[in-house]
């Protein structure tokens, strides 16, 4: 494990990605200390100001400091990212393992279910479910979690199936180890690395989805400062206040990019073809 972490750190992109992520987490945690203003502080005499020394990223249409709102927005992005993916991990991994391990009818039912969910354009699915419920940050996380697990379930199932056939499992079975033991000692450690890769990429995806939802008005509601939301207000002022549209977009881009870079780097390092724990 230690070797792999060293290998990971050798990858320049991974390092950049990790740095940005840690920076983001730091900013999110210490938001109240770092931000020069409070996110809902309106000052109608200072509407739509260009970026300046007092307002690094300018102000929005209600005179709020965008830099501050973006700092607090990082919290939203990270929370939604992490928690949605947590939900996906729990549901997807569980169903994938059950499906792969037990096979038969259970497998059939679960796989048909994933087929069905995957037929819907996921984004639209999320959109309409949230519309039927109420758009707020909790529903966003829950809905993303509950609609996006099929991909992971399939992935986990495939891993379990391939592991099931390998010799060391058959040996373990012959030694009459209980299923649970086989599972924890042999299967679990080998699933961890694909899970890590998936999680990283999924967090990026969740952040993109959340910002898209907020942009369309069906995500995090004002006055909560989501990056996607700052972009919504930007949409109406593209001609006169470009800063509303540029900075949040760059922030989203860099964040998602970082998670993607780290995910890919993990995939390169923990290449399953070389690194099975027997």
């Amino acid at each position: 494990m230690g070797n792999n972490i060293k290998k990971l750190l050798k990858n320049k992109f991974a390092v950049i990605g990790l740095t940005i992520i840690f920076l983001l987490i730091f900013v999110a945690v210490f938001a109240s200390v770092i931000a020069p203003y409070t996110p809902s502080e309106q000052n109608l005499s200072e509407r739509l100001l260009k970026p300046s020394m007092e307002h690094f990223f300018g102000t929005d249409d209600l005179g709020r400091d965008i830099f501050t709102r973006m700092i607090y927005g990082s919290r939203i992005s990270l929370i939604v990212g992490f928690i949605s993916v947590l939900i996906i991990l729990i549901i997807g991994t569980f169903l994938g393992i059950v499906s792969g391990f037990y096979g038969g009818k259970i497998d059939y039912v679960i796989m048909r279910f994933t087929d069905i969910v995957l037929c819907f354009p996921i984004f639209f699915l999320i959109l309409l479910i949230i519309a039927f419920l109420e758009p707020n940050i909790y529903n966003v996380m829950i809905v993303i979690g509950f609609t996006s697990w099929p991909g992971l379930a399939r992935l986990v199932r495939a891993e379990v199936l391939s592991l099931k056939e390998r010799e060391f499992i058959l040996v373990a079975k012959m030694m009459a180890l209980s299923n649970i033991k086989i599972f924890t000692v042999h299967i679990l450690p080998n699933i961890i690395s694909p899970l890590m890769v998936y999680s990283s990429l999924a967090i990026g995806g969740a952040i993109l989805t959340e910002s898209s939802l907020s942009f369309l008005g069906l995500g995090v509601q004002p006055p909560m400062p989501s990056w996607g939301q700052i972009l919504t207000s930007g949409k109406d002022y593209i001609y006169i206040a470009w800063w509303l549209s540029i900075f949040p977009g760059i922030a989203i881009l860099l964040t998602v990019l970082s998670f993607n870079l780290v995910g890919e780097a993990i995939r390169d390092v923990f290449d399953p073809k070389e690194d099975h724990i027997e």
Binding site: R112, L118, F120, P121, F124, I238, L253, L257
Partner: protein, 322 residues
């Protein structure tokens, strides 16, 4: 032929599943679905509400409602739109061609660009070009599509003013000649297609690359070289077909993603497709239209997958000649 029938039969449970899920979603809201319609209007009396509910059969037991739903689905009867009382089916059908056009053109360009990119970066693995392409793909994959759309609008629509940023037709469309009409539509398609293509390149490209790399390691490639073929000949005559086969499946799998994405940028570009219709319907809680679009897109995806599967069966001689 057998395979086609088998495939369709195995899709039937999925079809049912789709109907169940759509039904389930509609009844997610606390209260009756018709509340969504009447809540907007405070003058509605309790009596009128009840009448509406009876009209929509909401007073019947749930399984009866479900059967009604399935019965109507067969005729694509999703009910009438809450907003203008026109049949949802018609509204959807009006807008469907535009979305299909958009997605087809996008898919075409995605394949046109992503596959050669993938093949090229596989051949020149670890070179500067490969790394450059990889970085570009990472960034394109991480860009929020709505932001890219905005940026393009600002750049091309506002600053440079050279491309139209909304709709599919210009005002005087009807007065144009056929050629001008085609040109007009093409101009309007450029930005939405560009956004769609750029954000979707990465996946197909990476899969093509890794597929190609796998193929290049195969033993039969050695045989090809041993016969005296040049690198170019080996790649074109032997590697390509093997590497492209799995892409059929990948392309099939990416169709729902494309359709899903168009909800976002159709809205931004005011493009008259079902994406924008869907968004407006969702915002207005126009549930017949919403459910209609959800069901339709699901069925289209199912169809797309079946077609991709069948194509694969025909393309791979190992399966075709069993």
């Amino acid at each position: 032929m057998y395979y086609l029938i088998k495939r369709i039969i195995s899709s039937i449970p999925i079809l049912f599943g789709i109907t169940i899920i759509t039904f389930f979603i509609m009844h997610l809201t606390p209260g009756k679905p018709t509340d969504l319609m009447t809540d907007m209007n405070i003058k509605v009396t309790a009596e009128a509400k009840e009448r509406l509910q009876r009209l929509y059969g909401l007073d019947k037991p749930i399984y009866v409602q479900y059967i009604d739903w399935v019965k109507r689905l067969v005729f694509f009867d999703f009910g009438n739109s809450f907003r203008d009382a026109r049949p949802a089916k018609n509204k959807i059908l009006e807008r469907l061609p535009a979305t299909i056009l958009l997605n087809f053109v996008s898919l075409f360009f995605i394949c046109l660009i992503a596959i050669p990119l993938g093949i090229y970066s596989a051949i020149k693995k670890d070179s500067v070009i490969d790394k450059g392409i990889t970085i570009f793909l990472f960034i394109s994959f991480s860009i929020p599509s709505f932001w890219l759309a905005l940026v393009f609008m600002i750049l091309f629509g506002v600053q440079l003013g050279c491309l139209p940023i909304s709709g599919l037709y210009s005002f005087d469309f009807n007065n144009m000649t056929i050629l001008m009409k085609l040109l007009d539509i093409s101009k309007h398609l450029i930005l939405p297609v560009a956004v769609s293509v750029i954000t979707s390149l990465a996946i197909l490209s990476r899969y093509t690359r890794s597929g190609m790399l796998e193929v290049l390691k195969q033993d039969y490639i050695k045989t090809a070289y041993a016969k005296g073929l040049t690198e170019k000949q080996v790649i074109i005559k032997h590697a390509l077909k093997n590497a492209l086969l799995p892409m059929i499946t990948i392309i099939g799998l990416s169709i729902p993603g494309l359709i899903g994405g168009s909800f976002i940028f159709e809205t931004i570009f005011s493009y008259p497709g079902i994406g924008r219709l869907g968004y407006e319907a969702v915002m207005a809680r126009d549930y017949p239209v919403v459910m209609g679009i959800a069901t339709l897109t699901a069925i289209l995806t199912l169809l797309g997958n079946i077609i991709a599967d069948i194509s694969y069966t025909y393309a791979d001689p190992r399966i075709k000649y069993k």
